[in-house]
Amino acid sequence: MARYVLDFEKPIFELQRKLDLLKKVSPLEKTDLTAEIEDLEHKIEKLKVRIYSHLSPWEKVQVSRHPDRPKTLDYINNIFTDFIEIHGDKLFRDDLSIIGGFGFLNDVKVMIVGHQKGKNAKENILYNFGSPHPEGIRKALRLMKLAEKFSLPVISFIDTAGAYPGIEAEERGQALAIASNLMEMSALKVPIIVSNIGEGGSGGALALGLGDKIFMLENSYYSVISPEGCASILLKSENGDSSKAKAEASTALKLTADELLERGLIDGIIREPLGGAHHNPSEVFVELKQALVSSLLELKKLSTNKLLEKRYNRYRKMGVFIES
């Protein structure tokens, strides 16, 4: 079980610790503790179901950021074979917050791109917490254009709090880099399948997220602004930093997979094991792989023109307004 414990998970971990203790002392005691152990195990299972099966949007946001959650490289290694990593934007720098390369999805050759987060402090520094600079956004585009030239479908993974908001990122054209990806991806002549495996933070996520099929993991989120950002802007007079404010913002933003599916903004949800993908990653790998394979099969039936027309129309109709 995970080392890193979220606030709302604490009751489960309390009982779990009790159980571990009980199991440890059991052989040393004279009285038979089997019943107590079974009872506690039962209790834990019930508590898990009670807590995990009705996560609030803000709780899901926290799960989506769990350090033990599988990251893009885990999906690459468990879903694809023969991965060959390709580096660089051929312009400025190899931004490691973006990973990509060739791989086989079963017997189909594909190009993979994704945000790469770390699982610990050291990795997170290396990957800049999965937050790309413009060169990372451009690296992703370069790989996608390479895929287009050689007719390889693009499989994209989203997992970022957002494009990096730093001085140099601004100076090197973060805005233009994102805009260019959106423009180019909208017309890329190969299928693009996007899976949001964790955080879908605004423009930095969308820069790898425009495509023909958009999946979200059950506990991932996708939002125009982080709940924290939203809370601090709208609730600055009250306490925008409080958990309550963040929870309120998370709910208001309708950022969960369920909310977005309901509004037609995504195509499907990959269910996660109780407590999140890190409680049983292989289950998620299998389900996501299945979704990718069948989507690819479906998209490959379309002519390029039809594919691009559908993609355009998908985004063309997004938006809600009244005309008088």
Partner: protein, 284 residues
């Protein structure tokens, strides 16, 4: 009178000084420039295209002031003037989105943060859009995205040049992911527009950031910025929180962005129409 009616009704040049609520310039005959703190004569500011005669600070213009500044007298015809937001998320934090919309409409006299239509620059017909910062910080929700997209599509269909004047804090968070998707929608429309060879010129005014700068605003064939306009992706406060230090003065200014190669040219407001006209002549 709605802006649509107003624009339709007007047949002659409406001078800048008759326009609605002014931004950053306090009322009164004399006032203090917010940028240089000098005392300036209101009429002179207005005559100077709302540019401070002392320090050249470019005050924000309203959509109608911008129309008057750039388009030939009486040539503007608005499109889709009645389009309004439908609050798709029933959004309410501290204040409901519907209330914000009503207030913005009252303050600006506009229905949304952008006005689009067709008009002429030195007798050349163009498709034109201009954002108004008074309307929820010029933020882009479904209506802005839709009106921009329709303007792009119209320019494409009619083989006309496209000119968009941007002024925006970014995506409109009250419409959640619908707002984010306007970035995809408008950028996809630009991709189609660029398959033909009609020119698209964007004018970045103070400020142009977030979802607007990261979509249609920076995808133009030529990007003009007004002097000292704040231009970037992340807002300065977000950056300061991230890097945990104050930003240098002039960071994210048009001048710095020009130096970093992101902008084609900076043009003083008084030369804007003339430069635009010349550039269109080179491209079209």
């Amino acid at each position: 009178m709605s802006i649509t009616e107003w624009f339709k009704a007007k047949n002659k040049y409406i001078p800048v000084e008759k326009s609605g609520t002014r931004l950053n310039i306090p009322d009164g005959i004399w006032s203090k420039c917010a940028a240089c703190n000098e005392i300036i004569f209101q009429k002179e500011v207005v005559r100077n295209f709302k540019v401070c005669p002392k320090c050249n600070h470019h005050f924000k213009l309203t959509a109608e002031e911008r129309v008057n500044l750039l388009l030939d007298d009486g040539s503007f015809v608005e499109f889709n003037g009645g389009m309004i937001s439908n609050d798709p998320l029933d959004f309410e934090i501290s204040k409901s989105y519907r209330v914000s919309l009503n207030q913005a409409q009252e303050i600006s006299g506009l229905k949304e943060a952008i006005v689009t239509g067709e008009g002429k620059i030195d007798d050349r017909l163009i498709i034109f859009g201009v954002m108004d910062f008074r309307f929820i910080g010029g933020s882009m929700g479904s209506v802005v995205g839709e009106k921009v997209t329709r303007a792009i599509e119209k320019a494409l269909e009619e083989n006309l040049p496209l000119v968009l004047v941007c002024s925006s804090g970014g995506a409109r968070m009250q419409e959640g992911m619908f707002s984010l998707m306007q970035m995809a929608k408008t950028s996809a429309a630009i991709a189609r527009f660029k398959q033909k060879k009609n020119p698209y010129i964007s004018i970045l005014t103070n400020p142009t950031t977030g979802g607007v700068s990261a979509s249609f605003a920076t995808l133009a064939d030529l990007i003009i910025a007004e002097p000292e306009a704040l231009i970037g992706f992340a807002g300065p406060r977000v950056i300061e929180q991230t890097i945990k230090q104050k930003l240098p003065k002039g960071f994210q200014s048009a001048e710095l962005m020009l130096k970093h190669g992101m902008i084609d040219l900076i043009v003083h407001r008084k030369d804007l129409k003339n430069t635009l006209s010349k550039l269109l002549n080179f491209l079209y």
